[in-house]
């Protein structure tokens, strides 16, 4: 039906009007039924309701405006009904939407992989360091940092490694060139542990101290599956009046449960570090087998993870040179340290330490 198909009415009696309007209504309904998509909805709207060329506009012109005065009312009522019908049909088709066939034509292969925007992965070491510092932040520890190039004094002497002491042998040290003529305590080296930050912190503030020290350290070690000349440590230091060995145990037991799960148990063994006394190594129950024994824990059920101890009075004596409040008769404290690589490798199943420093996209991408 086009605009030209709208006949001019010759009779305006009810029967004639019903017939004329009925035909148009039929047409509107069949048009609406054929709607098969958003474009067809728009076409229907234009065809019937278009302001200039729409069929209803045409009917209004030919039938309503041309009707004699006495027929105005019946024609007008029927026109309103028609208009409501068309609008109803339009609304309905907009809601019902297109037919299934029309939708089927728009099918896509949803099994093709999604288009991923690459998101970067935090390095597993950063992630591990952050996890550990978060646990200790919750226990009131602030983060402490210090230089990677240290003096012999901070790295060794003030940590109670006297010059010539055999304990220095265990830490093969990378040194800065041309130090031989300088006094031993001023000689520059790459710190072998993050412990110097303990001394720097104590020198800069009186007790109480609670710091957690994540950082990069270096040793003159050949690279193998578990050793690297570059690695990261997290050390902690807690100094106050009345800090005890049982506080050290409780703190580390809590931290290990927070890091590895509440079912993890800890075990303490006597050990030796120049800067702590008593000193201990800490084992946690194997996180892989729950302590029953497996390959990862060499069937022992336990994994060694930490070194710790009560701060040696000799270390406090060095701190007291600048902060007299570190009087070992009045205060006490504990320190602990762990290797971030070992924890990261264990937590994330990393087999070669070298993978951590190779920048291989395939390796790093696994940590997104």
């Amino acid at each position: 039906m086009t605009n030209d198909d709208i006949p001019n009415l010759t009779a305006f009696d009810d029967a004639a009007l019903d017939k004329a309007f009925g035909a148009v209504e039929q047409q509107a309904k069949s048009d609406a039924a054929a709607i098969d998509g958003p474009q067809a909805v728009e076409a229907f709207r234009l065809r019937w309701l278009g302001r200039k060329q729409g069929l209803l506009k045409e009917i209004s012109t030919r039938w309503l405006k041309a009707s004699p005065v006495e027929a105005r009312k019946p024609v007008g009522e029927r026109f309103k009904t028609l208009q409501a019908l068309v609008e109803g049909l339009l609304e309905q088709s907009s809601v019902t939407g297109p037919t299934d066939a029309a939708l089927a034509a728009e099918a896509i292969d949803i099994t093709l992989p999604g288009t991923r925007r690459l998101t970067g992965a935090e390095h597993p070491i950063t992630r591990t360091l952050n996890e550990i510092t978060r646990v200790f932040a919750a226990l009131g520890y602030s983060v402490g940092v210090g230089p990677e190039v240290e003096t012999d004094f901070y790295n060794f002497e003030s940590m109670n490694f006297p010059p010539g002491h055999p304990a220095r042998d265990t830490q093969d040290t990378l040194v800065v060139a041309n130090q031989d003529r300088r006094p031993l305590r001023d000689r520059l080296l790459l710190r072998t542990h993050t412990s110097p930050v303990q001394m720097r912190t104590m020198e800069s503030q009186p007790p109480p101290v609670r710091i957690i020290i994540p950082g990069k350290v270096h040793r003159n070690d050949a690279q193998d599956a578990t050793h690297s000349p570059i690695f990261h440590q997290v050390e902690g230091l807690c100094v106050d009046s009345n800090i005890t060995f049982s506080d050290l145990k409780g703190t580390l037991d809590h931290a290990m449960k927070a890091l590895f799960g509440s079912s993890v148990k800890t075990r303490f063994f006597p050990s030796f570090f120049p800067f702590t006394e008593p000193s201990a190594d800490v084992q946690i129950s194997c996180i892989f087998c729950g302590g029953n024994g497996c390959r990862k824990c060499k069937n022992s059920g336990w994994i060694e993870l930490l070194g710790c101890g009560m701060v040696d009075p000799a270390v406090f004596a060095f701190a007291a040179q600048k902060q007299p409040a570190y009087d070992p008769k009045k205060i006490s404290g504990f320190a602990f340290g762990m290797g971030a690589e070992r924890i990261a490798m264990m937590k994330y199943g990393i087999s070669e330490i070298g993978q951590l420093y190779a920048g291989d996209m395939r390796f790093l991408g696994q940590f997104v």
Binding site: G164, P166, L190, I243, S246, D253, P313, M361
Partner: protein, 711 residues
Amino acid sequence: MKILTKWLKSYLPDLPVDDAKLAEDLTLRGIAVEGVYPLGDGNGSLYETDITTNRVDAMNHYGIAREAAAIYNLQLQPLDFPLPAPRPGDSPFPVKIEALNDCGRFTARVLRGITIGDSRDWFKGAEVATYFGLLEQKRISNAVDATNFAWLAMGQPTHAFDLDKIEGGIVVRRAHKGERLKTLDGIERILDSEDLIIADHVKPLGLAGVMGGWDTMITPSTTNVLVEAAWFEPMAVRRTARRHGLHTDASHRFERGADFNAAPLASALVSSILLANGGSIEGDLVDVRVAEFEARTADRKPVPLALNEVRRILGTTLDAEGITAATVESVLKALGCALSNRHEGQAAWLVSLPSWRLDLDREVDLIEEVARVYGYNRFANTLPAFGEGVRALPWAESETAVRRTLLSAGFHESIASTFCSAAEAALTAPQPGLTVPLGNPLSEEAGVLRPSLVPGMLTMIAGNLHRDVSDVRLFELGTVFSGTTEKVDERPAMAFGAAGSLPEQGALHPPRAIDFHDVKGAVEQVLAQFEARAVYFDHFPPESGLTPEWLHPYRAARVAVEGVTVGWFGQLHPRQASARKLKEPVLVGELYLDRLYKLPLRKPLAKDISRFQPVRRDFSLILDQSIGWEKIDRALAGLQIPELVDWRVREVFRDARLNLRPDANGSAREYSLLLGTTFQAPDRTLREEELQSFQARVVEAVGKAGARLRS
């Protein structure tokens, strides 16, 4: 070291536990038994132990037996090696300690008519054949095995000389520079005045406390023997051993402190074993002691110890009774200390220290012994009271913002080597000349502390591309070093690198090569984290020498914030790319975070969104090649039309075929740029005449900047 439980039990006949339990209990007390290997019926087990360096006293069977006695409160069999009465000699064997600062004690015993032969189980307490068999220790001769047996039993190094090769007597002295000595390992050594030696009246005989000499060693034809058991000063032995690159059982012990009182006993053990095969002693034991060393070792002053100090350091035990005076006394006595009460009725003592425990000399050392033997795991888990509030590092938030921005821009975080080669340092150092070499580098390629993160970044990018991982986006947050070997400065820096295409994954969209402007976008995003008034990117003509050599001179940008250079980035110089065998273009850059961290982090501040319709107007501009976007950008900014809320480049065409005033070679001298602008007012719908006026001002401004409208 390897320990036999059969041997331990010879000192502890009443040991109440089996080998597995003993191993566990020792381990929990710091004598780490890392492996228990049963040796068959009646042979007990072999322990593989790992003992911390401070406990040299326990690196032998008697020392470990002493620990077990302390754990189980058992009686330890005393060591006693009765010797036959000596035949009188003409005069005591001459021994002189000249190096009074290096040697504290020297004992010498002369044995005559000795028969060198195989080892056997000689007598109870000297089951050499049995124990060596179980230890799979090679038997050499009764003389060598006797000194080894004394070592394994007591941890006291001893030495047996062929007496007939000694001329005159023994002198313990520093070597003369240039003296020569062939040691037992067959190496001819040239000595120095730093070396402590055992000499006779003519020549050096051995490196004191380190290794004996070749010429005086026991041979099958030896009949007369001098048995040495001595105490040397740790540093003297360490110095000598180091200088000669030697690390022996003897030097290990002496460096860490031997038992001053053990020499006569060890001498008796070695002598009694040798004499079990015949022969006799001539004269009394020659025992030369240096009083000062004796006072510092065997006769140390007693150490005061108080129970309340023990409790102050150790805290709460699981056992309600806690650590008592009785615990302290029984533990320390079992370890060889003697305690006397300081005051009647007070739990405070003066503790005399055993000669074999030079690691003990302060109250805290004794507290550790109490805790250790009591058992670390019998202490409670308590938490200290909360201290102060947690303080954040000043730049922690800034670092987090930088990291988060790069992660969200699709860069993986990486960690590279702290070192680079001198050549790489020279190429990338922001301050050439101020690089810091290492004294003992891991390799030549790692000879210098990195002055820049760029060398490490390039190594990692190359590593990926050479492994056929073609899409690379990495960053590193790390420390860079500058200065001199006298004073090293450390600063935080961030490097980033990219290669390959975008998007990295997706079946439906064609990938395109990542380019300069992709990484510039990442840099802009990082900079946008900070509050900065003037951020700009600029470049310099190649002849200025300002562009780093590692960057492509025409595809590099300096990043400046408020007039300060905060970094450089761009395409890797093709010369550097080919030196690293990189065929694909690589984008790389570095930001100096210390400078960026001086800026405050930008605080988000919300503006009301206008409810009124924005109006978009595009302008097609034609520009000379020499005119960059920055000029147009500045011109528009200079208009200061508040309603001009946004302007941007929609497209750039650079195509000779457009025939925009080509030069003589037919290359376009001009290019075309589609400028998009958006006008919007916060309080009204813009009227057509307003828009007309804005547009006219835009055209005028870009015209002054050198652009003309395309007709």
